[in-house]
């Protein structure tokens, strides 16, 4: 059995629905201990930063969210390829399901960045390269969600959103680079959220554990939402009624 056949089989809606059931459950089981352990490390074990004090702990939420905000966009772009080339229903559901969570991570990144900026920079908002490109990314997520929802036919909406997502993934590095270039041109060196300086292990461990926690959270929410979208769009078909115990 070739790889593509295997992929196609796993990508059929009933199969996807069945095998993700356990994934969702295990992701939730693993997420809560990881989150609590990460927060324990971040809030109690790791020392306060000698320069920034307690506010540096915001980084333990900010940095994993920032990583996820970009990761989720690239995951969506991969799904968009599946939507446009193979027209897989599962890919459509996975792409649309990832967008709200991606927007949420972007919003968390922006909010924690602002909360951290207030004690550190003395202001909530600075047109720093990273914050600015994160704001643009937020609007790109909103655009994809809004475009997909504007279509009355959900499959057409998903395909239009896939085109936009792929255009966005080409533009995203350029946007990031352009904003950075703009800053070096006019503001001199900007304050970096994470300096080039090496980070001490006591700070690194909570960061890694919380990064794992965000990934688990994303997987759990993403797969549950995709499952819901699939069931919703296939609600007339026999396999859904059968699994919900409604089959005659």
């Amino acid at each position: 059995m070739g790889f593509w056949t295997w992929l196609n089989r796993q990508g059929s809606p009933p199969r996807f629905f069945d095998w993700t059931k356990h994934w969702v459950r295990w992701c939730w089981y693993l997420f809560f201990p990881t989150l609590l352990f990460g927060l324990y490390l971040a809030l109690l074990v790791s020392p306060a930063d000698y320069l920034q004090g307690e506010s540096a702990r915001i980084m333990h939420v900010h940095v994993p969210s920032a990583w996820m905000s970009l990761t989720v966009y690239f995951i969506m772009a991969v799904q968009a390829v599946g939507v446009l080339i193979w027209r897989l229903k599962v890919c459509e559901a996975l792409m649309l399901a990832a967008a709200p969570t991606g927007a949420m991570f972007t919003a968390v990144t922006l909010l924690t960045g602002m909360l951290w900026g207030r004690p550190t920079w003395g202001t909530y908002w600075v047109w720093d390269a990273r914050l600015t490109s994160e704001l643009v990314l937020f609007f790109m997520y909103l655009g994809i969600v809004a475009l997909a929802q504007a279509y009355s036919d959900r499959r057409a909406g998903a395909r239009a959103a896939a085109v936009l997502c792929l255009v966005g993934v080409v533009q995203l590095p350029i946007i990031r680079y352009s904003v950075e270039w703009w800053n070096t041109l006019h503001q001199g060196s900007t304050i970096r959220l994470l300096g080039e300086s090496s980070i001490h292990a006591s700070m690194l461990w909570p960061l890694l554990v919380l990064t794992l926690a965000t990934k688990l959270y994303f997987l759990a929410v993403w797969l549950s939402r995709a499952r819901w979208l699939i069931v919703h769009s296939e609600r007339q078909s026999a396999w859904v009624l059968q699994r919900l115990g409604l089959a005659p």
Partner: protein, 225 residues
């Protein structure tokens, strides 16, 4: 002449002929740009210091908004009179037709905005020594803006949500062109050569020239199924 190239020129000539029947549309986008600049001038209180600091930023934001508004009507007529469906079922490549369409659109709307740039620069009291650089930058940037607008217009053509949705889709993607174009003019006003920003804007526009019509064709096919 190859078949694709003939589709490009045919679509190009059709657009130009149609637009020249009603030149008011072109004047409207120029008028809009002057109007926005006037509002900024009044809001900034006309003080030369403020204008000098904000002038280029106002100019490029105005260009961006004017081209965005023009683009939002790009396929509206084609949809109403059925020629959009003709494009979709025509045996010639849809991408080629869209190349002709967007180039014609740029020649009419983009270049008329470029021609209006000296007036805007005058109103904003920009340094007239930099006018050649400014015109060149605007020429490149408006083409890029129209190409991005083409993709957005193709994806939203059959939706009633219209302009607001188009803004949400297209404006974030226009950030690099805004920044590069503005960077060229700003660094020139600080006595450096604006070549870096100009080259970056040209690179972005070339990338869009290669990709945008194909993406728009894909979008049109998807939304018309």
């Amino acid at each position: 002449m190859s078949r694709e190239l003939r589709s490009v020129t045919t679509a190009f000539r059709r657009e130009i002929k149609l637009a020249l029947k009603r030149p008011a549309d072109i004047w409207l986008s120029v008028g809009f740009a002057v109007l926005v600049t006037m509002l900024f001038g009044i809001a900034l209180g006309g003080s030369p210091n403020k204008l000098a600091a904000a002038g280029p930023a106002v100019l490029f934001t105005t260009l961006l908004l004017a081209s965005f508004l023009a683009v939002s009507r790009m396929f509206a007529e084609d949809l109403e009179d059925g020629s959009l469906d003709q494009m979709l079922i025509s045996p010639s490549s849809l991408t080629a037709i869209l190349y002709g369409k967007v180039l014609a659109f740029w020649c009419l709307h983009g270049l008329s905005l470029v021609l209006a740039t000296p007036i805007l620069a005058l109103l904003l009291r920009l340094d007239m020594d930099q006018l050649p650089l400014l015109l060149l930058t605007c020429t490149i940037v408006t083409l890029g803006l129209n190409l991005l607008g083409l993709v957005g217009a193709a994806l939203t053509v059959r939706l009633r949500a219209g302009a607001m949705l188009l803004a949400l889709i297209v404006l974030p993607l226009m950030v690099p062109l805004l920044v590069f174009g503005l960077g060229a003019v700003m660094s020139a006003s600080q006595g450096e050569s604006g070549i870096a920003g100009l080259a970056l804007a040209a690179a972005e526009t070339l990338l869009l020239l290669a990709l945008a019509p194909a993406a728009a064709a894909l979008g049109l096919r998807i939304t018309s199924e």
